[in-house]
Amino acid sequence: MSRVIYGIYDDETDLMSGIENLLSKGVKCVDAQTPFPVHGIEKLLNVPRTRISIASFMYGATGTTLALLMTWYMMVHDWHINIGGKPNFMFYMNLPAFIPVTFESTVFCAAHGMAITFLLRSKLLPGVTAPIPHPRLTDDKFVLHVSVKDESKLDEAVGFIKSSGASEVLMKSLQFA
């Protein structure tokens, strides 16, 4: 059976070089936890590109449609009242007046939709307990997740990680959602 062990690095440069080093040795680096975004790491760990911006566009489109429907229904279809002679009997004639609301609701839906998606996708919700291999992970430690196929290879892997510049190696089992 396979398990994950954690290499702790003290600096993002060490981490990056460490990963390169381990990969060259054919060690499987699954993931990394860092106190701040380390650019380029996603390539090394070949994390797929996120499609969250596309989602956001979808939400935005929905917002626009909703707003247009709402204004049409409320101002024109349900009851077109003569308000200061504004042509509420024709949607397109009075459309200019509806643009601000449409725009706002577009932004509203896009922003909130995306934010919510992000939280759900990354399992970030109040009450979720975060798996923290090293207490200073969110301060200045960089944790690399290395998965090892079978117990026998464990010590070898630890050796590799140590040699790749990790300050220490942790052997705890954590539940990653």
């Binding site: 009851w79 609701s105 509203f108 896009a110 922003a111 399992k123």
Partner: protein
């Protein structure tokens, strides 16, 4: 050094944005100190003062609700004065936050990182203060919810989408909620830091809840940055639209002095102008009180002052353009409205606006003034006053003399009105002070990404910048 880091190496000639000898841990220590440590006596003094004014404001508000809007100085001709003036003023102030965090992010301005967190917080609080006025300036505030797109009891009477006030409802609520989200998402990793540093279980628990179980894996960071980028992309047009729509309240009306197509750009510029001024006012206090001189440096201040010169000048041009248009349009009402501003009974309001907004910022052309903390502080206050007067001049003075001279009246505020305004200032600072004690005032994680590029230790710039 690895390729990744090399790629981000920054030219030595740029002034450092972080001073002193800093390690990641050191930064964490510095920035978490205000949150974890005890509040110093300055904080308590400030808090007491602002909390008291806030309470006073609440009392005045209650009085108004109990007795009616008549307890303000308004009359048959001047239906809006301090209330909407304050609303626009606060909204304007709010804009700087979004601007700094969103637009400067899109422009990849690194210097924004030390200030965007608190600037965003400022946005939130300013919008809260602003929101109070439209909510409570109505004759029957308990019916405000009728302004939401709901049918009336009998079903088919909705709301009027022709009305700029309704646009406001949408704009302000969107703006507020989006800024809130933007700000909070940014906070999550830093909250996680505090969570992991927490000693007491309660702290751990609370920050655990607040940080939504942040774990900082590569995937998270990837999405996190993407989200930040897209939100910035959304907030930029949003922030522009909000003040545009606020300006529509006036631009789409027929009141001479309100009915002006120049308003949208002019209001947005004004908003940024006042916003930056307020950011400066707060930052200059915060960096002293919270001891963050090494993160909010002279350079930050100078850069912001440059933006103030720019926006200040834009506003100045707008004022002149208005006058030109009033004359050029050949509409006597329009022409009179502007003559009346400058030479009418409210001339003092107009000229104090001119001095504060157009003249004082020009002092920033001198580097000495631009880089002096004291001067900046004073001028930033001036700008805030000036921008308040701008709104007063536009709103109250235009109303006081419109089409039929028979209805011309004068306006003077009651202490209730003043009390409410002062109260919102109290509210604003109370919120900000609490924020400074509870959340890291500087975007920690974000700043760490640029530490190596901008801290002078890594730039090997021998001498530390002299603080003044």
């Amino acid at each position: 050094m690895s390729a990744a880091v090399n790629a981000q190496y920054e030219a030595v000639v740029r002034d450092p944005l972080i001073l002193g000898k800093k390690s990641y841990h050191q930064m964490t220590e510095d920035i978490c100190r205000p949150v974890e440590g005890k509040a110093n006596k300055y904080w308590w003094m400030a808090f007491t003062v602002s909390a008291t004014t806030m309470t006073w404001g609440i009392l005045c508000l209650c009085y108004t609700i109990g007795n009616g809007i008549g307890s303000w100085g308004l009359n048959k001709t001047i239906g809006w004065a301090w209330d909407i003036t304050n609303f626009v003023w606060w909204i304007g102030i709010g804009h700087a936050g979004t601007l700094i965090s969103a637009i400067l992010l899109l422009f990849r301005q690194r210097w924004r990182m030390s200030i965007n967190r608190s600037a965003e917080a400022m946005t939130i609080f300013a919008v809260i203060c602003a929101g109070l006025f439209p909510l409570f300036h109505t004759g029957r505030p308990w019916l405000d919810y009728w302004m939401l797109p709901l049918p009336n009891q009998f079903g088919s009477l909705w709301v009027n989408f022709n009305s700029p006030l309704l646009w406001d409802v949408f704009a302000i609520s969107t703006y507020f909620s989006v800024s809130l989200v933007f700000w909070y998402l940014g906070l999550i990793p830093d909250l996680a830091t505090i969570r992991d540093r927490a000693i007491t279980p309660t702290r751990k628990f609370i920050y655990g809840l607040l940080s939504f179980g942040w774990k900082g894996t590569a995937r998270d960071w990837l999405r996190f940055e993407e989200v930040a980028l897209v939100l910035a992309g959304l907030s930029t047009p949003l922030v522009l639209s909000v003040h545009t729509i606020v300006s529509f309240d006036f631009a789409t009306s027929i009141v001479p002095g309100w009915h002006t197509t120049i308003f949208p750009p002019y209001f947005v510029a004004g908003a940024i102008f006042s916003g930056f001024a307020m950011v400066l006012t707060l930052m200059l206090v915060a960096r002293k009180v919270l001891g963050l001189e090494e993160y909010i440096t002279t350079q930050h201040v100078e850069l912001m002052n440059k933006i103030i010169i720019l926006t200040g000048s834009i506003v100045g041009v707008a004022y002149i353009t208005e006058f030109f248009m009033a004359w050029y349009s050949g509409v006597q009402y329009e022409a009179y409205a502007f003559q009346n501003r400058a030479f009418g009974p409210y001339w003092w309001a107009y000229w104090s606006m001119m001095t504060c907004n157009v003249v004082t910022p020009q002092l920033f052309w001198f580097k000495k003034i631009r880089t002096s903390m004291m001067a900046t502080f004073v001028i930033s206050i001036f700008v805030n006053i000036g921008m308040w007067f701008e709104r007063f001049v536009i709103i109250a003075v235009s109303l006081s003399r419109d089409y039929l001279p028979s209805s011309w009246t004068m306006y003077s505020p009651t202490f209730i009105e003043v009390g409410i305004f002062v109260g919102t200032i109290g509210l604003f600072f109370t919120c900000f002070l609490v924020f400074a004690r509870v959340f890291p005032v500087i975007a920690l994680a974000e700043l760490k990404t640029v530490m190596k590029k901008t801290s002078n230790q890594y730039k090997k710039v021998g001498i530390l910048k002299k603080e003044n």
